[in-house]
């Protein structure tokens, strides 16, 4: 049990963090993402599996990728993933072997 997936962000986590950060802090980004998620994500040179789990609102997989949890939390609220859905997705990992290897 640990508080963090990664004690130093990996480059993969950094790349996903950058998308989630810009999406909710740069003007017009959220609108562009909502209009066309694929086109928006193509702006970032993101590995396909990371792009897929963002686009698919796959909260569990985003968590396991090492994304910063505050960025993940803000993203869940910001793109209006229902609270009980995101909570259930996270809870599903409680006994997952990849949980909290930090």
């Amino acid at each position: 049990m640990a508080n963090w997936q990664e004690m130093m962000p990996s480059t993969r986590a950094y790349m996903m963090n950058k998308v989630l950060y810009e999406l909710h802090h740069k003007p017009d980004h959220l609108e562009a993402y909502n209009d066309d998620a694929d086109a928006y994500l193509a702006r970032f040179a993101l590995p396909q599996d990371l792009a897929d789990c963002i686009k698919g609102n796959d909260v569990a997989q985003m968590y396991l990728s090492g994304v910063n949890p505050y960025l993940l939390r803000a993203h869940c609220i910001g793109v209006k993933i229902p609270e009980d859905v995101s909570l259930a997705a996270l809870r599903s990992l409680l006994n997952h072997e990849g949980y909290n290897n930090g």
């Binding site: 049990m1 640990a2 508080n3 963090w4 990664e6 004690m7 130093m8 962000p9 950094y14 963090n17 950058k18 950060y21 909710h24 802090h25 959220l30 909260v59 968590y63 910063n68 949890p69 505050y70 960025l71 993940l72 939390r73 803000a74 869940c76 609220i77 910001g78 609270e83 995101s86 909570l87 996270l90 809870r91 599903s92 990992l93 409680l94 997952h96 949980y99 909290n100 930090g102």
Partner: protein, 273 residues
């Protein structure tokens, strides 16, 4: 030479504002009343300035330039920065000269803070000030500690920062009466599988240690057990800093509840300075 009128610690969470209805109305009112009581006590000290010890939640800072400590040196601060936070916009007055003094002296005292002349404060600073009913025209100096992205400053270093602040405030001639609000914690998880599973045992032990006399034991407990109490619990670095500024003054809690449906162990208290 400024006098410290009060040093307060209080949890914060955006859930209070975004999802207030996830807990019963009576509990919500009890919690809000505890924040208002802190605010009343705070204002009774008639401070001229307020040091807000808090943390940014990856809004002003990103991983391309993430500070361990950041001192605010602006004339004013807009809030909130979160487009999704259910809070009305407000502008806090900033005490720029006080911030610059604390910054310059910190650099002379072997601390290495970043500084900021423009920040839009997030819920971490806004929520407790809002709930406590603090006048936005009371000039503030935000001092932000990285509690949200490893690697972070140690609990002891955060305590040392508070020790520095207590001394520097006492030496400052620019204001007469200064309050400190340290906000964050206690046990909570943000966007992890444990979210909503508050570790009340941690919180009770931690609050008892805060109320005791053994500063080293408190720092050690915070260091060794924070991993049992959630990533949001890392924010007790601000409590460590408050304890440093209090320099041995007695602490007592004024409120505590483990509120699982707000995901947070909500603790409020003050030092007898």
């Amino acid at each position: 030479m400024a006098e410290i009128t009060g040093i307060y610690t209080a949890s914060h969470t955006p859930v209070m504002l975004n999802f207030p209805d996830r807990i019963p109305a009576a509990l919500r009112e009890e919690i809000f009343a505890a924040y208002r009581a802190m605010g009343d006590d705070f204002m009774a000290g008639k401070p001229d300035a307020l040091i807000v010890l808090s943390n940014d939640h990856l809004h002003n800072f990103f991983l391309d330039n993430f500070p361990a400590f950041c001192f605010g040196c602006a004339e004013s601060y807009e809030s909130p920065i979160e487009h999704w936070l259910h809070a009305k916009r407000r502008t806090f007055a900033g005490d720029q000269a006080f911030g610059a003094y604390l910054l310059q002296n910190a650099l002379q005292s072997d601390f290495d803070p970043a500084f900021s002349m423009e920040m839009v404060l997030d819920h971490g600073s806004l929520t407790p000030l809002e709930l406590a009913g603090i006048d936005p025209d009371l000039p503030i100096v935000p001092i932000l500690i990285n509690c949200v992205q490893p690697p972070m400053p140690t609990m002891r270093r955060s305590y040392d920062l508070g020790r520095y602040l207590g001394k520097a405030i006492a030496d400052y001639a620019g204001v007469e009466r200064v309050a400190i609000l340290a906000t964050g914690g206690i046990s909570h998880d943000i966007a992890t599988p444990r979210m909503g599973m508050v570790n009340e045992e941690f919180d009770q032990t931690f609050l008892s240690l805060m109320e005791g006399d053994d500063i080293d034991a408190t720092i050690r407990y915070a260091t060794d057990f924070v991993h049992t109490a959630g990533n949001g619990c890392e924010e007790i670095r601000m409590w460590m800093a408050a304890m440093g500024a209090a320099n041995g003054a007695k602490y007592h809690r004024t409120y505590y509840r483990a509120v699982n449906d707000w995901y947070t162990g909500i603790g409020i208290g003050r030092f007898e300075v």
